[in-house]
Amino acid sequence: MSEDTDFLAKVRFEFLQEARDLLDSCEEVFLGLDTSINRENCLAEVFRAIHTIKGSGAAVGFVSLVEFAHAFEDCLAALRTYPDRLTFELTSLLLACLDAMRTKIQMLSEGKDDNVPTPELEQKLGLARDLIVKKAGPKAQPVHQAFGFFEDDEDPAHGSVATSTSKASVPGPADDNHAARRDCGSIKVDSSRIDSVLDLVGELVVLKSQLINKTEPYVFDTSLGAVVSLLDKTIRELQDKALAIRMMPIKPLFMKMQRMARDLSVKTGKAVEFEMDGEDTELDRMVVESLSDPLLHLVRNAIDHGLENAGERQKSGKVEPGRIQLTACQSSGRIIVRITDNGRGIRRDVVVKKAIEKGLVQPDVKPENLSDHDVFSLLLAPGFSTAEKVTDISGRGVGLDVVHSQIEKLRGSLLIKSEEGQGSSFEISLPLTASVTEGMIVEIAKQMVVLPMDRIRELVKIESHSIVEIRAGQAVLNVRGQMLPMVDPLALLSPHSAGLHVTGKLAVVLEHQDRLYALVIGSVVGQMQVIMKPMNAALPHDVIAGVTILGDGQVALIADVEGLVQTFLRSGQPRTSERMMA
């Protein structure tokens, strides 16, 4: 008995997973429908997917899901017969149904009943189907006998249509497509398994470098040397390949954006032409996932505030629809994701005015004296704008600081370009993977600390006269006339080293949110690519981004520059208020 329920649970789980994949593939096809010349094949593909869900869903006993799938399928069947009847509104309805299916499946997989009330959608589907079929008239030549495959279905269009001629819509080419996609042969693997393989590969790299050190005295043994160098090369390649397993194309993310652009276009009544390029660019899975929110935000901004409405566009002599471009490419070891719109652009004067109101710049600053970079950086300042008011005038600035900090968490940067009246572009630059980072290994009070390379501006020698003590415990470092606050390196050390005094002749200049800070270090040990591992969750880690294992097997901490600066600023605050009170 319990074996039976176990079996059912397993089969259901597999079904839900399959259904989810099918819906994902549907969505991609659907979005192509608006323009696709090959509409019939697309419809055939969606039909097949929904049909499969219906069939297997019935087999595992999901009644409500099956009923809905049935209504969906009916409508699709009618559409397949008359593909030219597909309208924009219909596509929207079908997409809404797709979402409803997804919700149902999500609920089922959470173990809840799938009894989401969808009578409205089902009714609409029915109406749509009737409409499609009725419009057909007697002259129509539907093609559904060509699909002998599905003959068991009670196709509502069947009764109303007498003859059928097979034409281009025979599913031959679509089938080929399908087969080709299957051929790629992919398997689903739990990501924790991949991580454990990566851990072991990392360990292998460490052992390899130890072995190379140990074999150094035997340089004259050429056969040993040959084996060791071969091992070195093989492990290097293994590491590259292992890291590549975690990579995935950015395409699913772009598809999500396209879908949202479409929804927003309906909602705002602005016609939007969405273009994608470079969607095959590969990124670390983790980066793709955490890029979703900032990207959604930017695309929403671009459509909602960037693009003008039809009337406004006409007035400024621009073509309708407005264009949103999403591109991704790899350039010099980084991934560049760019969102471009040809909307109204950012009004510099409004931004500067707002910044003056907020006290972010001096009131006497003239917009024309500021560089583009300065002006657009203001948009990213924390608290620049959370109010809708600004959006109404300038069209920009909502929560961009949040987007910026999310991107910075990924060790990326955000570059804004805009031409008033011509449009804006937001360029996100990201490291290739979240797990491999270029780091500088430094020694602070006998401890090894890795500083992320992309945050280091320079290394400076400390002269005794270049430190200016403001008051006890707070000092600035004079670097060529620029006064940099000195961050306490003790924040990076363990409680056991409390009381240690860090005395060094070197300081690293770190950049965080366009400001520079100086960190005193003991010495520089080296520079290397490190594989970042997360810190154990039970240990608090404000100032640590992760840990890594160095070539000699030692564990080193990777400093989180953002956390370090935040901690520094926090610790500075009470003192400031004390002074103000005094």
């Binding site: 072991l200 056991h496 810190m535 154990n536 969750a537 030692q554 901490l557």
Partner: protein, 173 residues
Amino acid sequence: MMDSRNNENRAQAGQYLTFTLQGQAYGIAIATVCEINRMTRISPVPQVPDFVSGVMNLRGKVVPVVDLGRRFGFVAAAQTKETCIIVTEGSSGQVGNIVDSVSGVVDLSAQQIQPPPPIKNQGQISFVIGMGQTENCVVILVNTAEVLCQSELLDMKDIHAAIAAAGQLGEVA
């Protein structure tokens, strides 16, 4: 047989790995032990309670290390050749526990296990799950699953005192 309260947090009969801290024998259930390693290099970590020595490299995995002596409220013992790290699997993954020395494995029957002694602050010692009586000594049975959690501060000295007072143990070395 035993008092009814909180039976799951009571030591069960079975095999226990024994080790010493400050000369006193302790035992942990063998099922929670992953491996025992020699003392290795430990990298200190900021912002942690002082009983956390840092993190170590366990064949590519980065594992936090707790100084069990400090965790139990003793002053840190000098490191010797006997010093070991017992890696256990706890609620927050693997954790290394530094102990003065590892003694061996004892097999304790239910009759040999007694409930922990009553001491002044009962809440503090949920770590102690029982007292094992072997032929020649008393083993304090501990559960290290929550060893990293900061909420509990421990002072084993109280327990040592309680044991001594009850006359079960004689002299605590």
